[in-house]
Structure formats: structure tokens, C-alpha cells
């Protein structure tokens, strides 16, 4: 193939290399992958390496990065209390999601089940918040969470039941639960959809056999349905954890990470240092930490669950 050197070796066919047919195929492979590869390498892979480079500098973003400080940024980040709050909040969001949001979605999926009349209606309604943009979700929940019970619906309901109006987004302990409520409103339908699809794949005969063998519906659920739903649950947990780590828009609009950094997330922390304070070297280091966190989690999780085909939740 010396006369045709234009195509990199790696795109050549495994077998039968050398015939004109295989050259044509190699050309097809090369050209078909080219647009995806160029875009992906330039805008996804290359930025990772560039960020690693900038993270070693104290750099304000103007002119070339010259003030090399080695691992200084990485050390300073770990020494920053606000970063630790962001990390804790990511952890709390993960715990809330796994303990509340996902079981709730699963419960609803089981309730809607396979044959409930009107299941498509419920699915359509429950999934709707997922397609409504985060901006709109955030603004709607800003209305609902208004601290004044005459303006904010949530407080009005609490007062109507004899409770006390809460400041929600203005309170350092309530802000994260308040954000979590809005997040759950938006995302429970997505997880429910996954579980519904997973349930659809479980043959009804297995559950019927369980019933005939005398299992009640609770036993049926815990010993038959749940284990068979394993791969779907693992996917939904995976997506939920990755989503919690990178939460941004909803928090940015609803609380801006406040009050006093109480609802800071890793992404709001990075954006604040990158685009508000223009400490770009420092923010790059934050991005690297986030990337390493996601990567480590993904690899360990895939190893533990022996499943390597998780897809994006978009």
C-alpha cells in the first residue's frame, strides 16, 4: 500500500488489507469519522489538556500565562473552605437523590406499572418537567419559594396547614433542601421513564410465577422485580451521581450559590472564579478536580458493577 500513504494506518482494515476494495473501505472509514473526530478532539479532548497546562499558572486571562506556580492552585483549592462546602453540597445532593429522588421515581414507575389504564397519560405528564428548560424551572420555583406567604405558594400552603413560613432560599440550612425540591420536580420523571422502560423488559410470567408460588406483592417486588431491574437502577444511579456533581444552572439562577456560599456547587465555584473573578488558572484547576472526580467515580463504578455501557442522561 506504499502508493497510497494518505490514510493513517490505524484506519486500515484488519483483514484483507491491500486490495482496492479495502482501500476504498479505509477511505470510507477515515472520511466518515473525520468530522466527529475533528470536532471532538478540538473541542472536548484538547481543552482538557489545555486546562491542565493553565492550572499550573497564576493567570488572570490576559496575555500569556507566565507566572508558573506548580501545584499551587491545587493546594489552595483544597485549603479553601468554600470549595469544601461545594464538595459537601455535591455529596449531599447525591445522598438526597439516591435516598429520596430515585426511590420515589421507582415507586411511581411501579405504580404506573405495565397495564394501568392511563399509563401513557401519566408518563407524558410526569416527564414534562424534564423537557422544560432549567432557566424556566428556576424562575417558576423562585415564584413558589418566595419567603412571603402572600406571594410564595409553598409558604402559603405551610401557613394554611398551621405551619410557619420559611425563608427557603434565604436560609443557610434550608437553601439546599429547597434547591433539591426544584431539582426533584424537574428530574424525577426522567428516572421514572428509565424504570418504566426497565419494567417493560421484565417478562410478566416471572412475576406471575412468583405469585403462584405464594409470594405477596411486597416479596414479589423485593425478590423478583428489584433484582431484575438491576441494570436500569445502576444506570439511573450513575446518571444521578454525575448530574449531582455538575449541577449548575438551577443553583446559579435560584440562589447564586448563596446565602454566604451555603449552596455553592463545584460548577458555580468554578464559574465564579473563572468568569466573575477572572482567576483562570485557579478555575482551570477546579475544572481538573471535577473532571478527575467524575472520571474516578465512573471507572470505579463501572468496575464495581461490571457494567461499562452507561450512556449520557443529556
Amino acid at each position: 500500500m506504499q502508493s497510497l500513504p494518505a490514510i493513517p494506518d490505524i484506519f486500515k482494515l484488519k483483514r484483507g488489507a491491500g486490495s482496492p476494495r479495502s482501500f476504498k473501505d479505509a477511505l470510507t472509514i477515515f472520511l466518515f469519522l473525520l468530522p466527529a473526530l475533528v470536532l471532538f478532539l478540538l473541542f472536548v479532548i484538547y481543552p482538557i489538556f489545555q486546562s491542565v497546562y493553565y492550572s499550573f499558572f497564576d493567570w488572570k486571562g490576559f496575555g500569556p500565562a507566565e507566572d508558573f506556580i506548580g501545584l499551587g492552585n491545587f493546594k489552595n483549592i483544597l485549603g479553601d473552605k468554600v470549595f469544601m462546602i461545594a464538595l459537601r453540597n455535591a455529596g449531599l445532593l447525591i445522598v438526597f437523590s439516591l435516598l429520596i429522588q430515585l426511590p420515589l421515581s421507582l415507586l411511581l414507575a411501579v405504580m404506573v406499572g405495565r397495564d394501568l389504564p392511563g399509563r401513557i397519560f401519566f408518563r407524558t405528564i410526569f416527564f414534562m418537567p424534564y423537557v422544560i428548560s432549567e432557566v424556566i424551572t428556576a424562575i417558576m420555583w423562585l415564584f413558589l419559594l418566595n419567603p412571603n406567604p402572600e406571594r410564595g405558594f409553598i409558604n402559603a400552603v405551610i401557613v394554611a396547614f398551621g405551619g410557619e413560613a420559611q425563608p427557603w432560599l434565604g436560609d443557610m440550612t434550608l437553601v439546599l433542601p429547597a434547591l433539591f425540591i426544584a431539582l426533584t420536580w424537574k428530574y424525577f420523571g426522567f428516572h421514572m421513564l428509565l424504570y418504566m422502560a426497565g419494567l417493560q423488559n421484565i417478562p410478566q410470567e416471572i412475576e406471575e410465577a412468583g405469585r403462584i408460588d405464594g409470594a405477596n406483592s411486597l416479596q414479589n417486588f423485593f425478590y423478583i422485580t428489584l433484582p431484575l431491574l438491576g441494570s436500569t437502577i445502576r444506570t439511573s444511579v450513575y446518571l444521578s451521581v454525575l448530574g449531582s456533581i455538575q449541577q449548575f444552572i438551577l443553583v446559579w439562577i435560584m440562589s447564586k450559590g448563596g446565602p454566604v456560599n451555603a449552596s455553592e456547587t463545584l460548577a458555580t465555584y468554578m464559574i465564579r472564579f473563572g468568569f466573575v473573578r477572572f482567576q483562570l488558572g485557579y478555575a482551570s484547576a477546579v475544572a481538573i478536580y471535577m473532571f478527575v472526580l467524575c472520571l474516578t467515580f465512573s471507572l470505579i463504578y463501572q468496575r464495581l458493577t461490571r457494567q461499562s455501557d452507561y450512556l449520557t442522561g443529556l
Binding site: 494506518d9 484506519f11 484488519k14 476504498k24 479505509a26 470510507t28 472509514i29 466518515f32 468530522p35 466527529a36 471532538f40 478540538l42 473541542f43 472536548v44 479532548i45 484538547y46 481543552p47 482538557i48 411511581l108 405504580m111 394501568l116 401519566f122 407524558t124 405528564i125 410526569f126 416527564f127 414534562m128 423537557v131 422544560i132 428548560s133 432557566v135 424562575i139 417558576m140 420555583w141 415564584f143 402572600e150 405558594f153 420536580w185 420523571g189 428509565l194 422502560a197 441494570s231 436500569t232 444506570t235 446518571l239 444552572i249 468554578m270 473563572g274 468568569f275 483562570l280 482551570s284 475544572a287 471535577m290 467524575c294 472520571l295 465512573s298 455501557d309 452507561y310 450512556l311 449520557t312
Partner: protein, 287 residues
């Protein structure tokens, strides 16, 4: 002899459990609708009415806020709608074209670095745009394309590749290999097979990917927020956020703007629900 499957009988226990199911599910329906309904109520009220009685139905409905947003040039609603449309259509077209080409190669052809190239794309799944936005910003600045719709289109497309290549690869793999062999025997080229046989067969899959991409692109705020400066280029989500910041005191006007910007998504969703659902579940659930 035929065996009929035993049907659950309609006893009281069954009726009680069904009623309980419907009760809970209806409650959730109400919870889903509360924010939306309050938003729509607010959009149809005057500023004063929204302040004093935000939850009662808007009787009579006031259309002033909605017409103001649709007609007042300084609100720029139509310009933002147009910008969002340009971005969404370009991204969707690019994603479908680029991903189906790549997915075809990964599903249907063998070459030495296939595993390596495929793993490279899966890295993209662990590097979502929320984390990557700062690094990507540097690259856009070097290319000197900040503050342009082109930059938004390129970045959104690049970050939609990994997931959609995987989804399409799954669909393409499911198409029988015999078809490909038959096409090759009849003298079809790889591209010919891809273009004339595979793509028409995969139309539902392409529809799913397109619908998902449309939603993601239409709703994206982060990329326009970081990339765009000039208000003439703002997309609808960015414009909505800025509008809320600027007119935040006038709650009913904000509600009207938000309701109008949510409308296209909801209408689109009701028409394309099947595609969206099949795309998502194909992506995340294995058989």
C-alpha cells in the same frame, strides 16, 4: 387445548389498590402542574394582581403583558426566538449527520483502531459541558469566535457527539448483517449501503436523536451565557434569564415572558414525546 391466562378478578381488594394508585398518581400530577399553572396565572394578571393574589385564577385574563412582550421591540422576543431556532436547527442537523456517519463506522466496519477510537468518544460522557465550559472558552478565544452563534453551534454539537453516537450505534447494530452482505454482493459501496439502505431503515432512530438534540440545544443556557455578549445574539434561555434580572420586580411581566418562552418546548414535547422517550430509553436501558 388452549390455555387462557388467568385474569385478575375485580374484587374489592383490587378496586381499593387501584383507587390508591390513582389517588397518589393524581397527587403527583397536581404537584407537576402547580408551578406551571401559577406561572400561567401570573402571566395573565396585572402586576398588582400578581402581588396581592398570586394563586387565584386570572378572571378576567389580562393579555397586556403577553402582547407587550410579543410586540414591544425593546423586549427582542422574536429576535431571541430566531436566534434559538438558528442554533437549534444547525446543531440538530450537524449532530444527526456527523453522528450517523461515525455510528455507521462503529457499528458496521472493522479497522485496527476501532476500540481505541470508540473509547475516546466515551471519554466525552465523563466530561460534560458543565465541567468543560471553562477549557472550551479558552479554545473559542484562541480561535477568535467568541460572541457568535457559530461558536454556540460548534460547542453544543461537539458535546452532543458521544451520547448520540452511542445511541445510533446501538440502532445500527440491530439492522441485520445479511442486508449489508446482499448490498455489497449487488455492487453497493459502503457509502451506498449507508445512504440508500441503512439511513432509511433507521429513520425512527434518527428521529429520536434529532428530537433529543433539539430539546437539549433549545434549552441550553450555559454555552450561550459564557459565549455570547451582544444582546442581538441572545438565545431564548439566555434572554429569559436576563429578562428576569432586568424586570425581576414586575413579576407578572416576567411570568408572561417565561410562559411564552416555555410554550414552544411544551408544544414540541407533546408532538415528539414518542421520539424523545424512545431515544432516552434506548440510550439508557438495555434489553
Amino acid at each position: 387445548m388452549t390455555i387462557t391466562r388467568s385474569r385478575p378478578r375485580w374484587n374489592t381488594k383490587k378496586i381499593a389498590s387501584r383507587s390508591f394508585q390513582y389517588l397518589i398518581l393524581s397527587l403527583v400530577v397536581v404537584i407537576v402542574f402547580v408551578p406551571i399553572v401559577i406561572l400561567i396565572f401570573g402571566a395573565l394578571k396585572t402586576r398588582g394582581e400578581f402581588m396581592t393574589q398570586p394563586y387565584v385564577p386570572p378572571i378576567p385574563p389580562r393579555w397586556d403583558n403577553l402582547t407587550a412582550i410579543l410586540t414591544k421591540p425593546s423586549y427582542d422576543f422574536w429576535q431571541m426566538l430566531l436566534n434559538s431556532l438558528i442554533v437549534m436547527l444547525s446543531v440538530t442537523f450537524s449532530v444527526v449527520a456527523i453522528c450517523s456517519l461515525a455510528a455507521f463506522v462503529f457499528a458496521r466496519m472493522e479497522f485496527r483502531a476501532k476500540g481505541l477510537a470508540f473509547n475516546l468518544f466515551t471519554v466525552g460522557l465523563m466530561f460534560p459541558i458543565n465541567i468543560a465550559i471553562l477549557p472550551v472558552y479558552f479554545v473559542l478565544r484562541q480561535l477568535d469566535i467568541l460572541d457568535s452563534l457559530l461558536a454556540v453551534i460548534i460547542v453544543q454539537t461537539a458535546f452532543q457527539l458521544s451520547g448520540n453516537i452511542l445511541i445510533l450505534r446501538g440502532f445500527f447494530t440491530a439492522i441485520p448483517a445479511e442486508l449489508q452482505d446482499a448490498a455489497y454482493i449487488d455492487g453497493c459501496t459502503a457509502f451506498g449501503f449507508f445512504w440508500r439502505i441503512l439511513l432509511p431503515l433507521a429513520r425512527p432512530a434518527l428521529g429520536a436523536v434529532a428530537a433529543l438534540t433539539m430539546i437539549v440545544s433549545w434549552n441550553d443556557l450555559l454555552v450561550p451565557l459564557i459565549v455570547l455578549n451582544s444582546d442581538k445574539l441572545w438565545t431564548l434561555p439566555l434572554g429569559t434569564m436576563q429578562f428576569q434580572g432586568q424586570y425581576g420586580q414586575d413579576l407578572s411581566l416576567v411570568a408572561a415572558f417565561v410562559a411564552l418562552s416555555a410554550l414552544p418546548t411544551i408544544i414540541f414535547y407533546l408532538f415528539a414525546e414518542r421520539q424523545i422517550v424512545s431515544g432516552l430509553t434506548a440510550g439508557a436501558v438495555k434489553g
